[in-house]
Every structure is written in structure tokens, then in C-alpha cells.
């Protein structure tokens, strides 16, 4: 009921989970959905029925998220599934991804837009190879916050010592990651301890529950509000009597803040003008910021088209034809350094070649392999890329949107790799 009154102030938080069948990921998601009343009776009935037909004596909550026939039959998550729930404070989007190494690309996909990564550790097993791998991907994709849930605490007698040992091991490893905000929570997804409600079994834990963390974690700084970037998607020209000379440059703000009257520069032409108006639909605004979709008019007639970027005069992205990327290969067809690929970055599309493999990441040991130059599906690697025309890019570290690109195979039109600009 509160929801209907507070909804105009609710924020949106996207988080990603990765895990395999037995680490309790589905149970945890099921509990978050169930306790926030996002599971409906008819969905639960359907899942109950399916669980019974499979001969299970408990309700298999993974059946809620594994939507495809093959996934249900094989009992595995293959593709990213998106789930939704809301509390009076926030709306949540979960990108639920499989945890197995052969689905690395799905984890990368889920991580690309997430504010938070949930990493699950089985308290009985401690930090394992999969924990390192998931955390590394979260760090590579620059997810701003990691919440490490040490799960199945009920099976280790809610022992503080077990918990502290795991935290210690993880922190040692995490010093190598680029994530600033890492939190630890001892939970039991099955019994509900510290998920939505505080545990009565772990008085030694003074921190907040998982849900409280999800509801309050500060996401206001996750967007870049410093470097103003406005890539143009299309130009709105009504050709009507009332708006005869209207030229609205339409797009989504990828960074920073733009205000009416400010001087801007259009790239690649380098031409300057000032902002005349900013619109969201027919509503006129005095300023706009990431990630808003707006249209802008300028005080000068400049030739601007899709692929151009509007920025501020004293803060411009650098033009570059050659740069380094951290990348993940997504396709069965391996990388060919002689092939001309299509590179899409922002609203630009150019040709490009991935000419030099600097190293390949051994994802199980997290070591760099400088010898092996073969790049196939699910490989994470660092490479040099050369493109046919200048791209105006930022480093991914500064801006996840203007610093990312996808690689498209010209013959099949499929997206075969993704890159993050160094």
C-alpha cells in the first residue's frame, strides 16, 4: 500500500547474481522475491506442480527463473534471466546468470549494466575458483559495489570463526580488484537469516541485512556526472508549420550535466554553439544529466548527424583510431586478426581489426598468458584494436557507456565480442 504513495521517489537498482545449481543462488533469489511478495500465487502453483512432476519433495524456486524449455528440462540456467521486485524504497532488476565457466559471456552481459554484484559463497566450502572468477568479472565490468553473501551459515552452526576466515581470504584476494565498495553478510538463504529479516542466530554480526543493503546502498554516484557526453541518435525535424525550423538533436546523456545557455562542442567537426533548449517530450528543461533521454536545440545552425557527440569545450573525449581494450569473446567462431569487423561504440559504427593479442586471462587461475594467442568463445583477453575512423572515446574506467564497444561479424551480423577501452 505504501508503494502507491511513494512511487515517485523510488530509485532503480540493477544487480547481478552468478552461481551454479547448488550454491543456493536460486533459493536466495526465490527468497528475495517471495519475501518482497513479487511471486504471485499462480506462479507458485505452477512451480509447485512442476517440482512435484520432477519428483522433488521441496519447491524448486529455480523453476521461477529458468524460463526456457531446455533450461527446465536440464535443470540449468543457460541464458540471462531478468527478474523484478520492488520494496517501498526501490525497484530492483536482477540479471540472473549461470555461474559455470562455459557461460562466462552471459555473466559479462549481466554485469554490464549492474550497480551491484551479489557474490555467493557456500560457508562450508569457502572461497573457491568460481568465487574468484565471478569477482574478477564484476571488477572487469566495473560494477561499483560487491556484496559477498556467505551462505548456508546454518550448516556451519552460524559460526563467527568460519565467517571471519572466509572474509579474510576474500579480502586478501580483493585487494587486487578494482572495486571500491565490498561488503560481507553472513546469511542462510534457506532459513532466511539476514536476507530480509535479521538473524536471531548470529548476534555477533552487527551489520545490516542483505535487503537493507540493497535498499540503501548509495547509487547516486554510479553515473558519471563530471564528463558531459551526449551521443546523437537521430535528428528530429518536424517539417510542420508550427515547428518549421525546429532541429532537435535526440539522444541519451551518457555522462555529465548539460544546461541551457552553456557552450558546447560538436565532435568530430569541432564546431561550437550554445544550448538553446532542452526537451523531454514537450516539456522544456533547464538542465539534463545521465541517463536521461532528451532532445536539444542549439543557437547556431550546425550540421549534426547520428554518431556525432556533443561535449563541453573544456572537457572533450579524445579522438583515437588505435586503442587497447579488455575484451570477452562471445562466439563459437574464434577471433581472426585479419578479419575486418564492425565496431559499434555509442551511436557510431566503424570497421575495425583486432590485430594484436596482448595477453589472454587464464580465468581459472587469474593469471596472464602471454603466449597463447588463440581467442575463442568465453575467453577474456587484452588486445590492440585499430578502427577505420576516429572514435571519440573515454576509458571504461571513467565511463562505462562511452568506454564500451561491441564487435559485430559482418557475414552473420551477430555480436561476437565486447570490449572495454583501457
Amino acid at each position: 500500500m505504501e508503494q502507491s504513495n511513494n512511487y515517485l521517489d523510488m530509485e532503480l537498482l540493477r544487480f547481478t547474481t552468478a552461481g551454479s545449481v547448488d550454491d543456493g543462488k536460486s533459493t536466495l533469489i526465490g527468497r528475495l522475491l517471495y519475501d518482497s511478495k513479487a511471486i504471485f500465487e499462480d506462479q507458485l502453483e505452477q512451480v509447485k506442480g512442476s517440482s512435484e512432476r520432477k519428483g522433488l519433495d521441496h519447491i524448486d524456486l529455480s523453476l521461477l527463473t529458468d524460463g526456457l524449455k531446455d533450461e527446465r528440462e536440464q535443470g540449468i540456467t543457460i541464458d540471462v534471466a531478468y527478474r523484478y521486485f520492488a520494496t517501498p524504497k526501490r525497484k530492483f532488476i536482477i540479471a540472473d546468470t549461470p555461474g559455470h565457466i562455459q557461460y562466462t559471456r552471459n555473466m559479462v552481459t549481466g554485469a554490464s549494466t549492474a550497480n551491484v554484484a551479489l557474490i555467493l559463497i557456500d560457508a562450508r566450502k569457502g572461497v573457491i575458483e568460481q568465487t574468484y572468477r565471478h569477482s574478477y568479472i564484476a571488477s572487469l565490468l566495473q560494477i561499483p559495489h560487491i556484496i559477498v553473501c556467505i551462505n548456508k551459515m546454518d550448516l556451519v552452526s552460524f559460526s563467527e570463526e568460519v565467517y571471519q576466515n572466509i572474509v579474510k581470504v576474500y579480502e586478501e584476494f580483493a585487494s587486487k580488484l578494482e572495486v571500491k565498495d565490498i561488503r560481507f553478510i553472513p546469511i542462510s538463504a534457506l532459513k532466511g537469516d539476514n536476507v530480509v529479516n535479521r538473524s536471531n542466530n548470529m548476534d555477533w554480526y552487527q551489520g545490516a541485512t542483505l535487503m537493507h543493503n540493497l535498499e540503501t546502498i548509495h547509487i547516486g554516484s554510479d553515473e558519471n556526472h563530471t564528463d558531459a557526453r551526449f551521443p546523437i541518435q537521430t535528428v528530429i525535424r518536424p517539417h510542420s508549420d508550427a515547428y518549421h525550423d525546429f532541429r532537435g538533436y535526440a539522444g541519451r546523456i551518457d555522462g555529465g550535466i548539460f544546461r541551457v545557455g552553456e557552450e558546447i562542442v560538436v565532435l568530430p567537426s569541432g564546431k561550437r554553439s550554445t544550448i538553446k533548449e532542452i526537451f523531454l517530450g514537450d516539456r522544456s528543461l533547464i538542465e539534463c544529466f545521465a541517463p536521461m533521454s532528451v532532445s536539444m536545440t542549439l543557437n547556431d545552425d550546425i550540421d549534426i548527424s547520428r554518431g556525432n557527440i556533443i561535449a563541453k569545450v573544456n572537457n572533450q573525449p579524445e579522438p583515437s583510431k588505435e586503442f587497447e581494450i579488455a575484451a570477452c569473446w562471445f562466439h563459437d567462431k574464434p577471433l581472426n586478426p585479419n578479419t575486418k569487423y564492425i565496431i559499434r561504440q555509442g551511436t557510431s559504427e566503424v570497421f575495425g581489426k583486432i590485430e594484436e593479442i596482448i595477453y589472454k586471462m587464464e580465468i581459472t587461475t587469474l593469471t596472464r598468458n602471454l603466449e597463447d594467442k588463440f581467442i575463442g568463445i568465453n575467453d577474456i583477453f587484452k588486445a590492440k584494436i585499430r578502427v577505420s575512423q576516429d572514435l571519440f572515446v573515454d576509458s571504461y574506467h571513467r565511463n562505462r557507456k562511452t568506454g564500451s564497444l561491441i564487435v559485430i561479424d559482418q557475414t552473420t551480423n551477430e555480436t561476437i565480442a565486447v570490449g572495454m577501452i583501457s
Binding site: M1, Q3, Y7, L8, M10, E11, L12, D42, Q43, S50, T65, D66, G67, L68, K69, D70, R72, I78, D79, V80, A81, Y82, R83, Y84, R90, K91, N106, T109, S112, T113, I219, G220, E223, H225, Q233, T234, R237, P238, H239, S240, Y243, A250, R252, I257, G281, D282, E287, P291, M292, S293, R306, T347, R400, K401, S404, I406, I408, E414, T415, V418
Partner: protein
């Protein structure tokens, strides 16, 4: 000023971005318009995306001939108001031309027949992108759907070989004869849709608001009496105060008993409802993978 969007503002920004990408990346896109709240929302967002220009896409209605009259009336008014082109693909015509065969029996429906009419219409007008109001929270097969969903030259969906979508980079490249289905409101829930409709004051067909109607009880829901319904002798007509949560075909779309006659009351009702909105649609109840099976064929 706080530089942070509310969840509705962020969903709106995402949807407008996707709609503009469709305009920029495709030659001949269209909006699939059913007259339901979700396609009304997509149309509203398209209006915002291109203001002060008109929506640069036609509205395509796949007409089963079994519509609620309120839906058709709403559709015609909206088309006039927006000044956009309306294209109607008729299931009746597909039946008359022998493209499909009408189902028979008590639970006969034209739902599945729509797929043929839809694909024929897409082919006839050479649409290369068809935007729809489907949402991932509606159904488990839809939870796996992309924003830009590729269809082969038979109009089929291959859920196991979908293009990855990262950041805000959408790949709409395709070969001749192939097309895309695009779902700008993928990330919206039923609640988000209602909250946004209230916040933006979007008008809806009267069916969504509580009203008195002659109905009967079938498949665990209230079905409206009408010209396309075969009543069983045991089914009794009764006047109930009801409203619809979705607007599908008249003979298969169930109504819920409700007193919610304003948007505020509907939002309160949605907040406390314990069943999904598609739970009252017989088309989804045919089997556990009914939606996935239909989607693979080319359904909405």
C-alpha cells in the same frame, strides 16, 4: 537538485532510447498496437521520443475480429489524435483466404491464428522492425527476451541463439527478409506501467476500470458474454462489477471482480493482488511452455 532519476524516469529514458534506436537503425519500422495498456504505453513513449514531430511509424493492429468494441473505438480515436497511419491485419481475412483454419470446440480461440496474420502483414508491408509492448515480468519465456529480438526469414525466434545485449549497445543488423521484434518496455512491471500511466495521465479504454458487465464463470475466471461465445448449458449469466487487467480477445480474456474505477484505486489493487495478470488468459494456460512455443513460431 539531486542528479538521480526515479525508477519511472529511468525506465522512460531507457524506452525512449530504444524507440529512437529503432528509428535510426531500421528502414521501415512499425508499432504493434493491440489496444491494450502496454501498446498504448509504447505509443505514448514514441510520441515523447519524437516530439514535436509526429510518431514516424504506423500503428499495426492484428485484428482477430473478436475485439472488445471499446478497444476499437479507443484505437480509432488515438490514431486520429496522433495523425499516424493505421494498418489492420485481419485474422478473418486470413481465414477467408484459407491461410489458417478456425479452431472449433468450446475453448476455440483466434489467439494462435494471429501469428500467421501477423507474419503475413509484416511481409506484405516489408516491416523490418515491429515494436511491441511485451514485458519480461509477464511470463517466464518473455523473461529471456531481448530488447532487439532477431527473427529469421520465417519469422521465427531462436531463444538459444540470441544476441547479447550489453550497456546500451543494440545490434539491429540483419539480412534481407529477416526482421526484428523490439520491446522498449521490457524492464517494466505491471506496477510500473500503472504508476506511469497515472503520473503521465494517459487515457485508457474503459475496460480497465470497474464497470458492470454480464459475465459467466469459465476456466476460473469471469468471461464476458458476447457474440463469439458458446455458452455451455451449465454456465449461468450474471451481472458483476468487474474490470480487465489485460485486453486480449473477448471470448478468452478473463475479468476480475473489482471496485477500482480510478487509476489510484487500480494501483492499490495491483499492489495487493496475488496473481499475475496473464493468469486470467486462457491462451497461456494451454501448457507450461505455451508462450515459448508460440513465440518460436513468430507470435507477439
Amino acid at each position: 537538485m539531486k542528479y538521480l532519476l526515479s525508477h519511472l524516469q529511468e525506465l522512460e529514458a531507457e524506452a525512449i532510447f530504444v524507440i529512437r534506436e529503432v528509428y535510426a537503425q531500421f528502414q521501415n519500422p512499425a508499432i504493434l498496437f493491440s489496444g491494450g495498456k502496454d501498446s498504448i504505453l509504447v505509443t505514448h513513449l514514441a510520441k515523447k521520443a519524437f516530439w514535436p514531430a509526429k510518431i514516424p511509424f504506423p500503428l499495426v493492429h492484428i485484428d482477430t475480429g473478436h475485439n472488445f468494441p471499446e478497444t476499437i473505438q479507443y484505437r480509432d480515436n488515438l490514431v486520429k489524435e496522433l495523425g499516424v497511419k493505421l494498418i489492420v491485419g485481419s485474422v478473418q481475412e486470413s481465414i477467408d483466404n484459407g491461410r489458417v483454419q478456425e479452431e472449433t470446440g468450446l475453448n476455440a480461440s483466434r489467439n494462435a491464428l494471429q501469428t500467421t496474420t501477423l507474419l503475413d502483414t509484416i511481409e506484405k508491408y516489408r516491416f523490418d522492425a515491429a515494436m511491441g509492448g511485451a514485458r519480461r515480468d509477464e511470463e517466464k519465456a518473455r523473461a529471456k527476451e531481448r530488447f532487439f529480438s532477431h527473427r529469421d526469414d520465417f519469422g521465427q525466434w531462436n531463444p538459444k541463439n540470441q544476441r547479447p545485449e550489453l550497456w546500451n549497445l543494440f545490434n539491429g543488423r540483419k539480412n534481407m527478409g529477416e526482421h526484428f521484434r523490439v520491446f522498449p518496455i521490457s524492464n517494466w512491471t505491471e506496477m510500473d506501467v500503472w504508476q506511469y500511466i497515472l503520473a503521465e495521465n494517459i487515457s485508457l479504454p474503459s475496460l480497465y476500470f470497474a464497470h458492470d458487465r454480464v459475465v459467466f464463470w469459465r476456466n476460473d475466471t469471469w468471461i464476458s458474454n458476447g457474440p463469439f461465445v458458446n455458452l455451455k448449458p451449465t454456465e449461468i449469466l450474471i451481472t458483476k462489477r468487474i474490470r480487465y487487467r489485460t485486453c486480449g480477445d473477448m471470448p478468452i480474456t478473463g475479468a476480475v471482480e473489482s471496485e477500482a474505477d480510478t487509476l489510484e484505486k487500480i494501483i492499490q489493487e495491483v499492489a495487493t493482488t496475488r496473481t499475475t495478470e496473464r493468469g486470467s488468459r486462457a491462451d497461456d494456460k494451454r501448457s507450461e511452455t505455451a508462450m515459448e512455443d508460440r513465440k518460436k513460431q513468430g507470435y507477439f
